[in-house]
Amino acid sequence: MTANYFPGRFTVGIVLAAAWAGLAPQAAHSRSPEQWIEYFSEHWRDDGWGSPPYMRTANDNGWQVRMRALQGLVAAGGPAVKPLLRVLEQGDPNQRMLAAQALGYLAPHVPSQPLLSAVRNDPDAAVRLYAVDALARQGRDDIATPLAELEKSETNRDVKKHIAYALDREGVRIDSQVVDDLRNWDADRIDSAQLGKAAPDFRLPSLTGETVRLSDFRGKKPVVLVFIYGDT
C-alpha cells in the first residue's frame, strides 16, 4: 500500500502541474496587453521555418503562441491599441508583425496615420501587408487615395494584392461578428480536434451569406472539411 501511495501522489502532482502549465497561457484576462506582447516575444521562435513553402514542422507550437497572443490582445480591446502602436513603431520584426495583425481586429479604434506610416516605411513586407489589412478594416473612405498612391511604389507582389483588396472593399469595416468571435473564443479549445472524439463544433459565414454550423449535419451526412489557404 505504502509503495503505491507515493507514486500516486507524485502522479497527482504531475497532473496538477500539467494542468496548471496548460491553463497558464489561457488566463486571458489576467494579462495586460503589455504582458501579452511579452508572452509572445518570449515564446515565439522564428526558427520553425524550413525552406519554402515555409510550412511549420508538425511538432512546432509557435502557431499556438501567435493565436493565444492575438486573442488576448483583441480581447483586451481599446486599451491594447496604444501599446500595440508603440510596438508597431519600435518593436523587432516579429513584434511589429504581431502588432499589425492584432491592430487589424481593433481597426475601428486605431488612428490611420501610424498604419499608413507602417505601410509607407516598414522594411518588412509582412508588417506592411497586415498594416494594409488594418487600414482596409477601418472602413474609412479617405484612405483610398493614399493607398492607391502607395500601390505604385510598393515592391512586394502580395502587399500590392492586399492594397487591391482594400480598394475593392469600398469602405466596409471589419465585421463586428468576426471580432467578437475572436474576443469570446475559449482558448481552451485550441488544437482540440481528436480522432475518434466529437469534432469541435463551429459556426461560420459562407461567401454566399448563409451561416453554416458543423452540427447542422449531425445525424444527416458525413462532412468532408477542407482547410484551404486561399487556393480556391
Binding site: P53, Y54, M55, R56, A58, G62, W63, Q64, R66, M67, L70, Q101, Y105, A126, L129, Y130, A136, R137, D158, H162, Y165, R169, I174, D175, V178, D181, L182, W185, R189, I190, D191, S192, A193, L195, A198, A199, P200, F202, L204, P205, S206, L207, T208, V212, L214, F217, R218, G219, K221, P222, V223, V224, L225, V226, F227, I228, Y229, G230, D231, T232
Partner: protein, 109 residues
C-alpha cells in the same frame, strides 16, 4: 477536380471549405480565376478570426503570400459528428485525392 467534388456530394457527403481570409479577399481570389461564389457547389466558409483553424490545429502554420495561413488539411467527420480522419499536409499540395476521400467515405458506413 471540380466534377470529382460533385462525386463526393453525390456520395451523400457534405463538403465544406474553410478559408482563413475575409470574404473580400476570398471573392477577389475567385474573381481572379474567373469564378463567382455562386459557381461553387459547396460552401466556402470564411474563418477570418482563425478560431476554427485553431481548434483543428492548422492555424498560422504556413507562411505563404507573405502572410500566415492555414496548413492545408482535410478532415472527415461521420454522420454522428465523430472525427474519423485527419490529414494535415506535410508539404505544399499534400492532400488526399478525390478517390481516397471517396474510399474513406465508403468505409464509414
Amino acid at each position: 477536380m471540380r466534377d470529382r467534388l460533385e462525386e463526393i456530394e453525390n456520395r451523400g457527403a457534405q463538403l465544406l471549405a474553410v478559408d482563413p481570409h475575409e470574404a473580400w479577399s476570398a471573392k477577389y481570389l475567385l474573381k481572379e480565376v474567373g469564378l463567382q461564389e455562386s459557381d461553387l457547389s459547396y460552401p466556402l466558409l470564411t474563418d477570418s478570426a482563425h478560431v476554427v483553424s485553431a481548434m483543428y490545429g492548422v492555424a498560422f502554420q504556413m507562411r505563404i503570400h507573405t502572410e500566415w495561413s492555414n496548413r492545408p488539411a482535410t478532415f472527415i467527420i461521420d454522420r454522428q459528428g465523430i472525427l474519423r480522419y485527419e490529414r494535415r499536409a506535410n508539404t505544399f499540395g499534400d492532400r488526399p485525392t478525390p478517390d481516397e476521400i471517396l474510399e474513406l467515405l465508403e468505409k464509414l458506413d
